[in-house]
C-alpha cells in the first residue's frame, strides 16, 4: 500500500503549483484552470483521507467538489466570454477597471 502521506504531499505540491499558476498566469482562462487544478489537489487529499480512515465520505466530498467545479466552470466561462467580448482581451492585467 502507498502511505497516505505520499498522496497528501502530492496534493500539497499540486496545490502549490495551482497557486503558482494562479498568480503567475495572465490569461484569465488559464487562471481559471489554475483554480481547477487546486480543486483537484484538494480532491486528491479528500480521497486519500477517505482511504486512510476507511470511509467513503472522502469520495462523496469529491463528487460534490466536482459538481461545484462544473457549475463554477459554466458560470465562470460565461463571464469570461462576456469579458473577452467587452474588453477585447483575455489578459487580466488589461481588465483593470475595478479601481479608483
Amino acid at each position: 500500500m502507498v502511505p497516505t502521506n505520499y498522496y497528501l504531499i502530492l496534493s500539497a505540491v499540486l496545490f502549490g503549483l495551482g497557486v503558482l499558476a494562479f498568480v503567475f498566469k495572465r490569461n484569465i482562462i488559464t487562471i481559471f484552470m489554475a483554480i481547477e487544478l487546486m480543486l483537484n489537489a484538494v480532491n486528491l487529499a479528500f480521497v486519500a483521507f477517505g482511504q486512510a480512515l476507511g470511509k467513503s465520505d472522502g469520495g462523496v466530498f469529491v463528487l460534490f467538489v466536482i459538481v461545484v467545479a462544473a457549475a463554477e466552470a459554466a458560470v465562470g466561462l460565461g463571464i469570461i466570454i462576456l469579458t473577452a467580448r467587452n474588453r477585447r482581451s483575455l489578459n487580466v492585467e488589461r481588465v483593470d477597471l475595478l479601481k479608483l
Binding site: 487580466v92 492585467e93 483593470d96 475595478l98 479601481k99
Partner: protein, 652 residues
C-alpha cells in the same frame, strides 16, 4: 381607595390633554380644544379632591403619609429613583391649590385668549405645566421632584416666550430659563450631597435618617454637611421662587400672557421653592445657619421688592414685584421655622395674587392691551366686577381683616417676632414691607380705577370681560376673602385649624398657645392693621387727587430702574461670560479643539485611504497575490502549533 391606589391618574390627565391638544389641536376649533384642556384639568381637580378624601380616611387608620412606588425609573447600584408618588397633608394643600387655581385659570384663559393666535399651543403648554407641577408636588423623592421642577421651568420658558415673535418676550423667556439654571445647579449639588450623606433621595429615607437623635443639630454659624446641603437647596429655591439675588427673571416674565403670570408666576410655580424648603423642613431644622440665611434672604427680598414695586407704572410689574415680596414673606416664615405659616401664606397668596393678576388681565383686556397705569384711571364705573374683584384682592394682600393675608401674614410676623435669632429686626423689616405693600397696592387701585381717565376714548372703548373671565374672578375673590378663616379661631384663643391640619407634617410646633402669646398676637395684629392703614392713607394722600406721570429723579429714579440690578448683573456676570464664551469657548475650544479633532479624524481617514488606495490597483493578479498572502497568514495561524517546531528546529 381607587384614586389613591393609582395616584398617577392625577398628573396623567393634564399630560394627555397637553399631548392631544399639542398634536391635533392645530386643526380643531376652539371649542374642542377648550373641552380637552378644561376637561383634563377639571377631572384631575375632581380626582385630586377624591384622592384627598380617601387619603384623610386612610390617615385616620394609620398615621403616616401615603407613599406608593409605581415603577423604577433609574436604578444604578444602590441608587434607586422610582416613579413614586406621595400624599401627605402638605401635598394635599399644594395639590388642591394647584389643581383648583389651575382649573380656574384655565377657565379664565378660554376667555382671555379667545382672540389670540396659537390657542391650542397655549393650552397644550398650560396643561403640560399642570402635569409637571403635579409631579413636583406629588413626588416622593428629590429626583422626581426635580423632574417636575425642571418641567415647570420649561413650561414657564415656553409660556413667557409665548409671543415668540416679540423679541422682548423671547428674551424674557431665555432670561427666566438661564437664571433658573443657576438655581437648578445649586439644587442638583444639594441633591448629590444629600445622596452622598444618606445614600438615598427618597423623602422618607432621608428624613428618617436626618431626624434620628444621633444626627446632631449643627449649631449656628457652623457649616456642616446638612447646612451646606440646605443652602444649596435654597439656592435652587431662590432661583425658582425669585428671591434675591436671582429674582430678576420674574418681572420680565410678565411678557407672557396674563393668565400665565397668574398661574405660573404668582400662584403655583414660584411657590415651588417654598414648597421644597417646607418639604425638607427636617433638614432645615437641623441646620439653623441655613434657616437664618433663608430668613434673612426672605425678609430682604420682601422689603427690596416692595420698594421697587412702589414706583412701577406697568400694572403687571407692580404685581410681579409684589409677588416677589410676598414670596419673601413665605421664606421669612420658613426661615423662622414657621413652615406652616409659610404654606398658609402660600395658599392665601395663591388665591389673592391669582385674583389680582386675573383682574389686572381683565383690566388690560378692557383697555385693549394697555398696561401702563398712567394711561388708565376712572375705570371703576366702567368695569364694576373687575373693580370689585381687584379691590378684594388689594384689601386681602394689604392684610386687612378678615381677608386672607391678614391671618397668614400676621402669623408669619408673629413667628418672626418670636424667633430667637434677631427676631425683632426681621419683624420690623417685615412690617415695613407690609406698609409698602399696602401702599403700592392702593396706589395701583387709585391710578387704575379713580381719577379722571387718561386714555383716548376714541381708540379705547372700555368693556367688561366675558363671564368666563369674571366667573373665576368672583370665585377667587370669595376664596381670598375666606381663605384665611382657618386661622380665625386662633385669634380668639381657639386653635389654628390650618396649622393643626399640617401638624402631621411639621409637628405641632408653632402657634404657641398661652396668655402672653395670645395678648402679644393681638397686639401684633393690631400693629399690622395699623401699618396697612398707614400705607392706605399715604396712597390716598398721594394719588386720590389729580395726578400726572411724575418726572423721576433721585431715589425715585433709582427705584424706577430697580436699583439698576439688571445693569449690574449685565456688567458683572453677563458681559464677562459672553466675552469668555465668545473668545475662549467658541473661538478656541469649539472652533479650535473640537472642530479640529473632528476634521482631523476625517482628514486622517482620508489620508489613510489615500495611502491604502494603491492596493486597489484593479489588477487581478495583485488581488490574487493578496489572496495568497491572506491564505498564508490564516494557515500560519492555524498550523502554528504544528509548524513552530519545524520553523525553530524543534524535534517532535
Amino acid at each position: 381607595m381607587p384614586i389613591l391606589e393609582n395616584l398617577w391618574i392625577i398628573p396623567l390627565l393634564p399630560l394627555l390633554g397637553s399631548a392631544i391638544n399639542g398634536l391635533f389641536g392645530a386643526k380643531w376649533p376652539k371649542a374642542i380644544v377648550n373641552s380637552v384642556a378644561l376637561g383634563s384639568t377639571g377631572v384631575s381637580f375632581l380626582c385630586a379632591v377624591e384622592a384627598v378624601r380617601e387619603f384623610l380616611g386612610y390617615y385616620e387608620g394609620n398615621h403616616k403619609a401615603w407613599v406608593k412606588p409605581f415603577f423604577d425609573w433609574i436604578v444604578a447600584g444602590n441608587f434607586r429613583a422610582g416613579f413614586d408618588l406621595q400624599l401627605d397633608h402638605l401635598t394635599v394643600v399644594m395639590l388642591l391649590v394647584v389643581t383648583g387655581v389651575g382649573f380656574l385659570i384655565h377657565v379664565y384663559s378660554t376667555g382671555y385668549m379667545a382672540h389670540e393666535g396659537g390657542y391650542y399651543r397655549f393650552f397644550s403648554y398650560l396643561n403640560l405645566f399642570m402635569f409637571f407641577m403635579l409631579i413636583l408636588v406629588l413626588a416622593a423623592n428629590y429626583v422626581l421632584l426635580f423632574v417636575g421642577w425642571e418641567g415647570v421651568g420649561l413650561c414657564s420658558y415656553l409660556l413667557i416666550g409665548f409671543y415668540f415673535l416679540k423679541k422682548s418676550a423671547s428674551d424674557a423667556g431665555k432670561k427666566a430659563f438661564i437664571v433658573n439654571r443657576i438655581g437648578d445647579f445649586g439644587f442638583m449639588l444639594g441633591m448629590f450631597l444629600l445622596f452622598r450623606t444618606f445614600h438615598s433621595l427618597d423623602f422618607s429615607t432621608v428624613f428618617e435618617a436626618a431626624s434620628k437623635p444621633e444626627v446632631a443639630v449643627e449649631p449656628l454659624g457652623q457649616f456642616g454637611v446638612l447646612t451646606v446641603a440646605c443652602l444649596l437647596l435654597f439656592v435652587g429655591a431662590t432661583g425658582k421662587s425669585a428671591q434675591l439675588p436671582l429674582y430678576v427673571w420674574l418681572p420680565d416674565a410678565m411678557e407672557g400672557p396674563t393668565p400665565v403670570s397668574a398661574l405660573i408666576h404668582a400662584a403655583t410655580m414660584v411657590t415651588a421653592g417654598v414648597y421644597m424648603v417646607a418639604r425638607s423642613h427636617i433638614l432645615f431644622t437641623h441646620a439653623p445657619t441655613a434657616m437664618y440665611v433663608v430668613a434673612i434672604v426672605g425678609c430682604a427680598t420682601a422689603f427690596f421688592a416692595a420698594t421697587i414695586g412702589l414706583v412701577q407704572s406697568d400694572i403687571k410689574r407692580v404685581l410681579a414685584y409684589s409677588t416677589v415680596s410676598q414670596l419673601g414673606y413665605m421664606f421669612l416664615a420658613c426661615g423662622v421655622g414657621a413652615f406652616g405659616a409659610g404654606i398658609f401664606h402660600l395658599m392665601t397668596h395663591a388665591f389673592f395674587k391669582a385674583l389680582l393678576f386675573l383682574s389686572a388681565g381683565s383690566v388690560i383686556h378692557a383697555m385693549g392691551g394697555e398696561q401702563d397705569m398712567w394711561n388708565m384711571g376712572g375705570l371703576s364705573k366702567k368695569i364694576k366686577v373687575t373693580y370689585w374683584c381687584m379691590l378684594f384682592g388689594t384689601i386681602a394682600i394689604a392684610g386687612f381683616p378678615p381677608f386672607a393675608a391678614f391671618f397668614s401674614k400676621d402669623s408669619i410676623l408673629f413667628a418672626a417676632y418670636n424667633s430667637e435669632t434677631g427676631g425683632k429686626v426681621l419683624y420690623g423689616v417685615g412690617l415695613l414691607a407690609a406698609v409698602l405693600t399696602s401702599f403700592y397696592m392702593f396706589r395701583l387701585i387709585w391710578l387704575t380705577f379713580y381719577g379722571e381717565k387718561r386714555y383716548d376714548e376714541h381708540h379705547v372703548h372700555v368693556h367688561e370681560s366675558p363671564g368666563t373671565m369674571t366667573g373665576p374672578l368672583m370665585i377667587l375673590a370669595f376664596l381670598s376673602l375666606t381663605g384665611g378663616w382657618f386661622a380665625l379661631p386662633a385669634l380668639f384663643g381657639g386653635k389654628d385649624y390650618f396649622a393643626e391640619f399640617l401638624s402631621p407634617v411639621f409637628g405641632a410646633g408653632e402657634a404657641g398657645g398661652g396668655e402672653a402669646a395670645q395678648s402679644l398676637e393681638h397686639i401684633l395684629s393690631i400693629v399690622a392693621v395699623v401699618a396697612a392703614t398707614a400705607g392706605l392713607l399715604v396712597a390716598w394722600r398721594m394719588y386720590s387727587k389729580k395726578v400726572q406721570r411724575g418726572t423721576s429723579e433721585g431715589m425715585h429714579k433709582l427705584l424706577y430702574n430697580k436699583y439698576y440690578v439688571d445693569e449690574i448683573y449685565a456688567a458683572t456676570v453677563v458681559r464677562p461670560l459672553v466675552w469668555l464664551s465668545t473668545n475662549v469657548l467658541w473661538k478656541v475650544v469649539d472652533a479650535g479643539m473640537i472642530d479640529g479633532a473632528v476634521n482631523g479624524v476625517a482628514d486622517g481617514a482620508a489620508a489613510v485611504g489615500d495611502a491604502v488606495r494603491h492596493t486597489q490597483s484593479g489588477n487581478t493578479r495583485s488581488y490574487a497575490v493578496w489572496v495568497v498572502i491572506g491564505a498564508i497568514v490564516v494557515l500560519g495561524i492555524v498550523f502554528w502549533p504544528i509548524l513552530h517546531p519545524a520553523l525553530f528546529g524543534g524535534v517532535r
